[in-house]
Amino acid sequence: MKTLLTLIFSVAILTAAAQGKNYEAAMTAALEKMKNSETVANFQQVANTFERISMTETKEWLPLYYASYSMIVISYMDEDVDKKDAYLDKAQQFLDKALKIAPDESELYSLQAFLYPSRITIDPMTRGMEYMPKMNAAIDKAIALNPENPRSYYLRAVTLFNTPEQFGGGAKVARPHFETAKEKFDKFEPESPLHPNWGKEINEMEMQKI
């Protein structure tokens, strides 16, 4: 009897540990691949990997976050205007699923703010009016949920930097936001190695341009 109990108990623990290890290992490997991705095909591969993980780990928002992130990156890279919306629809699907799992996660709202500008580039004249306010609302929400999330400040800075001066953008207006972002990046410690930790380098690259 005791043996049987031990058996059942240890099987349960081992399975859980193996799965946990499996998740972490799979995520770590995929993140490593994402870091080295350069082409649409690379990002498509990692997006697929994260999507596969997300379908098994239905309680984790991180796989969905990275699947969505990869699709957004693809949308910025692909030149084919007609395809961009399809990528972004997919990215939004992942993001919506993630928000159901973690509705108060600041990083997800930052990611939303990363997605909207890509929609705008497809048709600035008609879409700017619709998505700019949405993007600002997403950043505000991201900051409210976690004021230490540096990506919110970076995204605000880079958007202002790319907005013509006539519309309240430009280098001068963007500078303090880049600086806040830098401060926050310097202090930022991700919750775990799997949590979002991108943007520091690009923030500094963009600052050079000012």
């Binding site: 043996t3 031990t6 058996l7 240890s10 099987v11 081992l14 193996a18 499996n22 799979a26 095909a41 498509q44 591969q45 997006a47 697929n48 990997t49 999507e51 596969r52 993980i53 379908m55 098994t56 205007v81 007609d82 395809k83 919306d85 399809a86 990528y87 997919k90 048709d123 600035p124 004249m125 008609t126 879409r127 009016m129 619709e130 700019m132 306010p133 949405k134 600002n136 609302a137 013509p164 001066e165 006539q166 519309f167 309240g168």
Partner: protein, 708 residues
């Protein structure tokens, strides 16, 4: 020790799984490889991405009955049962292309749609707002599309040989009974609604859905914006007045209010008027929009607008060889509230209530005419999606209309009538295949005033003729009650009827669209009379008839943002009718055989400016010269107009600012819309005439708008 052994044993079990390899290839229906496909065993991490040749290969620990999934953007997700006991190779997965909106067959005979959301459309809402020569008027912009006639002294839409009353306007599915401001003789009016209220619109020049009735020729269906994106205010200074708006946004609710005061006194001083104004036109208006999102799919929209317009002028009435003082004022209140929601996966409800109160006072010298038009409408529509590829819509509506006119003209007269209209419709659209769709509908109406019950069919279909082209056809029968000016005298009339047959070929590839449409429209039961404004009921009958046939061509090349964008629209029409007091079948005075519009737009990124220009041409219009024996045999000279719009975006006093200038008839063409003739000949036996010309030769309007 025993325990340790067990543990060891378990480790062995866990890691002794034999890994198997699954491989194969992914192809599209046409046999070409699909790259980037996510292929995996459901419920595991095991999977891979197909390479550029569509080839995939991965290993898995899973055994037994499993499901292999293949998913890719642009394709339907594929699932296959797989019994894994060893390596599996040579799996061929055929992915079915998702019908993207661009490639989908769309029933579009007779229809021009403007939308931000749909890519299949040829117009954007901004096209409507920023078309040069349209003066920011929705109807003005649709007037630059094929099928509409240039009728400069009206300002209303005249579609395919039809009169302006044959076009009906709907907002969020609800009827707008009085969409135009009041109108002075020989001077154009314009629409009451600002184009920025709408994020989508449909202009149908024929063959429209069974949802719409009481329109012989055309419908304009406008969809108001959803939630306001953010809290904001704006104030605009125009050379013709002031406008202001404020919008407030909450989480799921928004409210916006706007007001305007328009006065053309200053503008009329700057641009010489062909009109002898006694009081310059003044418009005071206000609008309210309330939106509340009830769920992911549910929305309550409430809209209300009130406006007042007034003007007075000295009119040279050559028919009666007299100068008349004509004063007009109009109060108009329109409101609608609609509610839409998906009740479940299969049913969607759309319901609404609308009312319109319109009071118009027209004084001609000492004669007074006061007209009240009140209407209210209740409508319910249910759409069902339970059968795959089939959408079925059922609807019913009630429209209560009261007309009351007091005339003080050598005595007091009252002309009034009430009509209650009840209608029901059902329509079903079936996407038989990816490249073939059918739509059939039936509409039935009952009119209390003229005791008439009728039912009419609406049919349409579309078939893809290639990857980028399609053929679409529509047939429909349409009823419309005789106008107020007849029904107020007699209820012994039947509805006027028309039938439309339309064939459309559309080619759309990348930025280019070409549309060619041929149509044939027959009119019958048109109202005829012997003498205008005779109160004798026996004077009116339904013996009129007519036809319109023609070809409409539309070409648009819309390059990406910041590049050239232009469209050319051309209409050829042959239309004749015998109605009103016409002695014979002739081409009516509002029809020109050839209409051409060229509209150009471009955003210049470097100077943050939007420039638009348009050229409009219409061949001569018929008019009746009583000095000649033939009826309606005169022909005006051709109509030409070149208009410009310039919009500059900049920052002024730390505020986002828009400067907007429109120039109408920049080249100063002397256009003539027709001629009015004296009723009686002068001493030499000649009927004197007077040309109907625009209110001013050139018009420039300035606008400076601040976003606060």
């Amino acid at each position: 020790m025993k325990t340790l052994l067990i543990l060891l044993f378990q480790f062995l079990i866990m890691f002794a799984h034999a890994q198997v390899r699954i491989s194969g290839v992914v192809q599209s229906e046409s046999g070409s490889p699909v790259t980037g496909v996510n292929i995996f065993i459901q419920g595991t991490y095991d999977g891979t991405t197909s390479d550029t040749l569509g080839v995939f290969s991965f290993t898995t620990d899973a055994t037994g009955d499993q499901t292999l999934i293949a998913s890719c953007v642009g394709f339907e997700t594929y699932g296959q049962a797989l019994n894994i006991s060893g390596d599996i190779s040579d799996i061929t997965i055929i992915l079915i292309e998702e019908i993207s909106e661009l490639d989908e067959v769309i029933i579009n005979a007779g229809t021009f749609e403007a939308s931000d959301k749909k890519k299949s459309v040829v117009l954007k809402p901004l096209d409507v707002a920023l078309t040069a020569g349209a003066n920011g008027d929705i109807f003005g912009a649709f007037g630059k599309l094929p099928g509409s006639q240039t009728v400069g002294e009206e300002g209303r839409l005249f579609v395919r040989g039809g009169e302006s009353y044959e076009t009906k306007t709907f907002m969020d599915g609800m009827l707008v009974n009085t969409p135009y401001y009041s109108k002075m003789p020989d001077l154009p009016t314009r629409g009451r609604f600002s184009p920025i209220l709408f994020n989508g619109s449909v202009f149908s020049t024929g063959g429209y859905s069974a949802e719409y009735g009481q329109a012989l020729s055309s419908i304009v269906a406008l969809n108001t914006v959803a939630l306001e994106p953010e809290t904001k205010s704006s104030i605009s200074f125009l050379s013709v007045g002031l406008q202001g708006s404020h919008a407030k946004r909450w989480e799921n609710t928004s409210l916006s209010v706007s007001g305007e005061y328009l006065n053309t006194t200053l503008s009329n001083k700057l641009f010489k008027q062909n009109v002898d104004w006694l009081q310059e036109p003044v418009i005071i208006g206000s609008t309210m929009l309330f939106r509340h999102k009830t769920s992911e799919t549910g929305m309550i929209k409430s809209f209300a607008t009130f406006n007042y317009d007034t003007s007075s002028l000295l009119y040279e009435n050559i028919e009666q060889s007299a100068f008349q003082k004509i004063s007009m004022d109009n109060n108009n209140l329109y409101s609608n509230t609609t509610y839409n929601e998906m009740l479940n996966d299969e049913w969607m409800i759309q319901t609404g209530f609308a009312f319109n109160i319109d009071r118009e006072n027209m004084d001609i010298d000492s004669d007074e005419i006061a007209t009240a038009r009140n209407s209210s409408q209740l409508k319910l529509t249910l759409s069902n999606y339970s059968i795959k590829d089939v959408t079925t819509t059922f609807g019913a509506e009630a429209l209560i209309y009261k007309y009351d006119q007091d005339i003080n003209m050598n005595g007091d007269f009252n002309l009034s009538f009430n009509n209650n209209l009840f209608a029901a419709f059902a329509e079903s659209e079936w996407k038989v295949t990816k490249s073939f769709a059918l739509k059939a509908g039936l509409r039935t109406e009952y009119n209390s005033l003229i005791n008439e019950l009728n039912a009419v069919p609406r049919l349409s279909a579309a078939v893809k003729t290639g990857k980028s082209s399609q053929l679409s056809a529509a047939y429909g029968k349409f009823f419309q009650n005789p106008g107020d000016d007849y029904l107020k005298f007699t209820d012994e009339l039947a509805p006027e009827t028309s039938s439309h047959s339309i064939l459309t070929w559309q080619y759309k590839k990348d930025s280019r669209t070409l549309r060619i449409e041929a149509y044939n429209k027959n009119y019958s039961d048109l109202v005829k009379f012997d003498e205008e404004f005779s109160a004798e009921p026996g004077n009116y009958n339904n013996t009129g008839s007519g036809y319109s046939r023609g070809i409409d061509v539309f070409w648009r090349d819309q390059k990406e943002f910041g590049k050239d964008d232009y469209w050319i629209s051309y209409s050829w029409i042959d239309s004749k009718r015998n109605y009103r007091d016409y002695p014979m079948k002739v081409t009516p005075h509002y029809v020109s055989k050839h209409n051409l519009s060229v509209v150009y737009k471009r955003y210049f990124t470097k100077i943050n400016s939007f420039i638009s220009g348009s050229y409009t041409f219409a061949s001569g219009r018929p008019y009746d010269n009583p000095n000649t024996p033939e009826f309606m045999a005169g022909k005006t000279k051709t109509y030409n107009d070149v208009s410009f719009g310039f919009t500059h975006l900049f920052y002024l006093f730390n505020t986002q600012t828009v400067a907007h200038v429109i120039v109408n008839n920049a080249l100063g063409f002397n256009n003539v819309f027709g001629y009015n003739y004296a009723q009686t000949p002068d001493n030499n036996g000649v009927y004197q005439s007077q040309a109907i010309v625009p209110g001013q030769k050139r018009l420039i309007v300035f606008l400076l708008s601040f976003q606060l």
